[in-house]
Symmetry: D2
Subunit: 258 residues, 4 copies
Amino acid sequence: MHSDVLTIGDRTFQSRLLLGTGKFASNDIMRQSIEASNTEVVTVALRRVDLDAPQDDMLNHINGDSILLLPNTAGARDADEAVRLARFARNAGCPSWVKLEVTPDPRYLLPDPLETYKAAKVLIADGFHVLPYINADPVLCKHLEELGCATVMPLGSPIGSNKGIKTRENLRIIIEQAQVPVVVDAGLGAPSHAAEAMEMGADAVLVNTAIAVARHPVAMARAFAKATEAGREAFLAGLGGSSDIANASSPLKGLMWE
Amino acid sequence: MHSDVLTIGDRTFQSRLLLGTGKFASNDIMRQSIEASNTEVVTVALRRVDLDAPQDDMLNHINGDSILLLPNTAGARDADEAVRLARFARNAGCPSWVKLEVTPDPRYLLPDPLETYKAAKVLIADGFHVLPYINADPVLCKHLEELGCATVMPLGSPIGSNKGIKTRENLRIIIEQAQVPVVVDAGLGAPSHAAEAMEMGADAVLVNTAIAVARHPVAMARAFAKATEAGREAFLAGLGGSSDIANASSPLKGLMWE
Amino acid sequence: MHSDVLTIGDRTFQSRLLLGTGKFASNDIMRQSIEASNTEVVTVALRRVDLDAPQDDMLNHINGDSILLLPNTAGARDADEAVRLARFARNAGCPSWVKLEVTPDPRYLLPDPLETYKAAKVLIADGFHVLPYINADPVLCKHLEELGCATVMPLGSPIGSNKGIKTRENLRIIIEQAQVPVVVDAGLGAPSHAAEAMEMGADAVLVNTAIAVARHPVAMARAFAKATEAGREAFLAGLGGSSDIANASSPLKGLMWE
Amino acid sequence: MHSDVLTIGDRTFQSRLLLGTGKFASNDIMRQSIEASNTEVVTVALRRVDLDAPQDDMLNHINGDSILLLPNTAGARDADEAVRLARFARNAGCPSWVKLEVTPDPRYLLPDPLETYKAAKVLIADGFHVLPYINADPVLCKHLEELGCATVMPLGSPIGSNKGIKTRENLRIIIEQAQVPVVVDAGLGAPSHAAEAMEMGADAVLVNTAIAVARHPVAMARAFAKATEAGREAFLAGLGGSSDIANASSPLKGLMWE
């Protein structure tokens, strides 16, 4: 299974766990959690990056050689804001990759399908690798894929809710139809959620809150890493279906003295 | 976390994944799966053991030095049959441990609370370590614990159904109240199910069908091992609760140019 | 469908909604709720009945001619207490029907399978019609049925939790196997829960908390009555199965101008 | 509660159950089902209406005086097709109401958020009352509402799947935020599903397949009518929340002889 790599755009990755960097108690805990997770893609809110004083910045705590820094547009309320943020970052030296988040409503931070599509179109034309955060909407996923997005990133449940995968029906269809990697993003609150997404055939998962706010973030990062691997391996090993009647683990041939 | 051991009776275990041995395509695949799973407890149906010709037996494929062979009474339809099976095995040289299964109905193989209790009473008086397979019934668990059972083994869903944990409400209560290890047994059909049981605070899980009938049993055994560890580590690392409103992964302080 | 009656013991009922009488804000609201629900079986905790001063009692608020008063043994912690309560009531003039509840643990009030079985045996021998409140345990249900119980009353979820049906897997099996009426009891917190139980093929449901503590108990009683009927009628009308692919409501023959 | 009416656009309705007309075995069964359902809004696929020969048409089987005939654009694969269908129908004498369905993928018939938005914009400018069928996407719902749509119609699960409400998380948010009626459309396969949608606070539900393909469609229509009413009444009567610990239905004051 050493050849099971994840390819996004022109890059390949061994790890299928992407990490967000919000909410960590300190940069040091963040750095240790990143290491424990074995992640190769770390997403960073552009608003939190001090592009003028990089030496003081959290970015210094992330090893940019082995890890892809994926700027995100968290906080953008419409396409214009998202596009401005992405360009601003590239001008300051960031790579031309962007996790596109457009969330008009601060209460639930759910993605805007229309504005996300609009921003993706502009940014792709502009040479960006675009990874859009979206609702688990199969038709929208096809549109974004046709536009040239590098992945689709449907949500499991609202950001930070820790509710796990509440969009199974649509997620199943998205995975069946997608020609680009499907990264389940948002709502994954426990390693079992990450494992389940991978077992369903998702290509990767993105986790942030569940690790950052755990009592022991570093241990939790390790747990998510193992669960993501477990889910992927189970998917490749071929899970059985479920059954309504019992299947005896041991053949029922009658007892020994019969 | 090196000191996180599972204690059952007078024995301690590093691994929290117990394995059943039914349904494997060959003894060789079974042996490899056992190795890949890192399990230290393997359960074997007494009816399938040829106690008279041990040299030909599947038991030879299991390393009895590092692994506890746990005979089970699969196929017993009432307390008498279960007690006879357990004693028969001990007379033939098996250890005085028994996974107690009493299942009158071959269609669903669900456990009998009354006959299981009766058999447990006799076998405990007889010096056995008894690990009873039961419904996720909190009051029955307390009775069995008070009787002296070494564990309780509530089911997640019917044997071989692969449906995962369908008994969450009662399982949560059982785990909260138990003074002996809680081993979730039956129905765990995917690594995510094992992880979830461990995240809930179960002490261990037992898996058989999902590994034995996977397309690649050995890889699936490895996946279950990782998921079980992930779930345990997440439990120890302190999972956060779920929330009905969004929690921005990145603090929403307004955009950069604001 | 006028001939679709529920038969328990030697009595027949048009309504399939049984009502509990705890927690109502007043006897008057209770009486109105009973009327609105169209119920024909009302269960009353023996401990709350003042058998010496019946004229002051809540029982006066229930029309005993059209409604079966079903005493329950709520609060009994073992078989002996339950048997004493039931006999005490009959001696005071109650009918020889009893809803058998044995709940050793006051925190979750979950039923005790061993003590319930023991009490049922004694009370049936004593001439009682016994309706036992139990976990959704298919094998226990068969034992109680064989003992002569008038119904089995598996729980949907813990009493008063309002969580609905969390025992679907086992409930499905119980309904498939039962030869006596299956009454889903406890945990039904909304009319949709009652409808679901009936759609699954349950013979009746018992509701108390969800009605008694609603903002408007009388309206809620009416809502449960309609939902119970709806679920029953749907069961008889033959529900379709679910499907993983879409089924166009309208045949897709191409558009009008094609 | 006689004043609890549903208002859509400039019309008011007593019934909150909308009916689709596809898949009925005959026009006669359809007509009887419509009557049994008490519906006041019936949706008809424009493609199935023979606008040139109305006397032979299924429309004759629907009482247009008491029932709003709501043409739908089922089969439209993009905005242009949907707009053409709607205009075509109005030119032929249909009212200027339209249930807007844009479904590019015939396998799952899931709605297209971008094309639906585009079509809604055109049709609203054109004077139509637009009721769009969409994914359970809260941000899209707000956009459509701001555009002037008469309702939003988020799906419970894919059309014809009978899976019920698999979009609870988003549906809850949509209902909380909507200023226009929320009609849960698609996937409702049993009366309990309709009741649940109403209990959550949806303003109405639309059902087709579950009634049309039932063994007894007329009885099933009646069952859905009752369940929809039950769910609405329960919503108005104030459902209690759920609880993790038991709430004794009967106060636990100790037994009678204590």
